[in-house]
Amino acid sequence: MGAVSRSNEIYIERLNKSYSQQQTAGDLHYIIQDVDLVVKGGEFFVLLGPSGCGKSTLLSLIAGFVSKTSGYLRVGEKEVDRPGQDRAVVFQQADSSLFPWLTVRENVEFGLRMKRIPAARRKEISDRFIGMVGLKGHENKFPRELSGGMKQRVQLARVLSNDPGILLMDEPFGALDAMTRRTMQRELVKIWQETDKTVIFVTHDIQEALLLGGRIGIMSAGPSSRITDIYEVPLPYPRDIAAPEFHDLYNRIQAHFDE
């Protein structure tokens, strides 16, 4: 267990990201500045912050989609410099990330096909994860035939089938209606508990953060955003919105965004 956890650990020190071209230190316009963070293997960590605070940028840095300006960023034993199969990303928009020309099953099997895994084994794996996300019976549908919630389920099954150690989720339930979102949150926690993956989940919804996260990192408003506070959420799953401790934590976190 110790070795597994270590490999799914994320270690970030004094991480900076700027999109401007000038390299003179004073003129750099930072999206995120001096971010320090350690996420342990198997942890469910939520990044909470206002819109435009650089949460997604931090996630893209961990994913390896964009390169850092300075600082240190390590996943497992390796410093991050490119995307890797140990880190899977669930995007905010299913429509822009799913492949509309592939069926649900073909989408879920995409990564396996790229690795040239034999068809029989692929089917075995895709059956398992399509079942896990509750899409059994929809295998041969195309994404355009699915609702928003179902499309996010496809995204989830698609990344899970590659067995990544880390799930990076960028407001994946932001575009869903409230009821579907509640269901998806519950099921995500269940899947996380079943699969023992490290999750970094980006959201601007305090309630969502409290329903999901073992720890919640608060990001300050950009530019030069950083993680200002980290809250432990010592409540058991499934979380009870009506519990006084839940309410208490909600108010304390809310206070960060009131000023």
Partner: protein
């Protein structure tokens, strides 16, 4: 369904009305200026019987299909490379937008000098007419592939080559398809020009040559054949696209209800 049932007879009615108006107008101006449908049909029958009409349609269609197919086959991979490689695009994009304003007809003399008076120069001209439209559409398609698709493929372990084959090309199919469909139109324009100036057969030759005998009815036969050839090939290409490429998001223009 009931809508479809009513649309068929209306379309027939439209064409009948068009022919009746054509006939009436031709009666006013006389057959030399405007040959009517009956007169044109007689001319067409004449050409059909001596075999020239089918032969000319065949040769024109052959030139267009060959040049268009070859042009598309060359243009698609080039379009994908231009779309994928920013460095090449820096040089290719201005050049493409410069050359696409030069119509194929303007090149006819040069192509005759370069490729001879035989079939090669005509097929090359059609290729030219096809080439740049397909390249432009293809690389526009490549550029509009959503970043999230490429990123998700990459983090699922796809190599750069696999991303091109399994993400960029399938996502670009509707753009490529639109490009080759538009190119069919310019191909017809190019072949008629070429056949008028430098050919002894083909529908373009028919239209141009008929002036020597002042057979305006034959000109009309040629025009109608062109319209029909274009219409039928476009429908065929559209149908093929719908049948084979539906999963890539190729939709028919006729099914759009707005």
């Amino acid at each position: 369904m009931s809508k479809k049932l009513r649309k068929g007879p209306l379309q027939v009615l439209f064409w009948i009305a068009l022919i009746v108006i054509w006939q009436l107008v031709s009666l006013i101006y006389g057959p030399e200026i405007l040959p009517g449908p009956i007169y044109t049909a007689k001319g067409g029958y004449e050409l059909l019987m001596d075999g020239t009409l089918l032969q000319y349609i065949g040769i024109s269609a052959y030139r267009v299909l060959l040049g268009w197919t070859l042009g598309s086959l060359v243009a698609v991979p080039i379009g994908i490379i231009i779309g994928k490689v920013g460095f090449i695009r820096t040089f290719a994009e201005p050049f493409l937008n410069f050359i696409r304003f030069i119509p194929p007809i303007a090149f006819i003399t040069l192509f005759l000098v370069w490729f001879g008076i035989g079939e090669t120069s005509k097929v090359m001209l059609i290729m030219y007419a096809t080439f740049f439209i397909v390249i432009l559409n293809t690389f526009t398609g490549v550029l509009s592939v959503e970043e999230d698709k490429i990123r998700s493929a990459r983090s699922m372990g796809a190599s750069e080559w696999q991303i091109v084959v399994h993400v960029i090309i399938p996502a670009t199919v509707p753009y490529i398809f639109t490009g080759i469909r538009l190119a069919m139109g310019t191909s017809f324009m190019a072949i008629i020009g070429a056949e008028m100036i430098a050919s002894n057969e083909g529908v373009g030759y028919l239209i141009w040559n008929s002036r020597l005998f002042f057979r305006t009815d034959w000109i009309f036969v040629g025009l109608i054949c062109l319209g029909l050839m274009g219409f039928l090939t476009d429908r065929a290409v559209g149908l093929l696209g719908r049948r084979l490429l539906a999963r890539y998001g190729v939709v028919s223009t006729t099914s759009l209800k707005r």
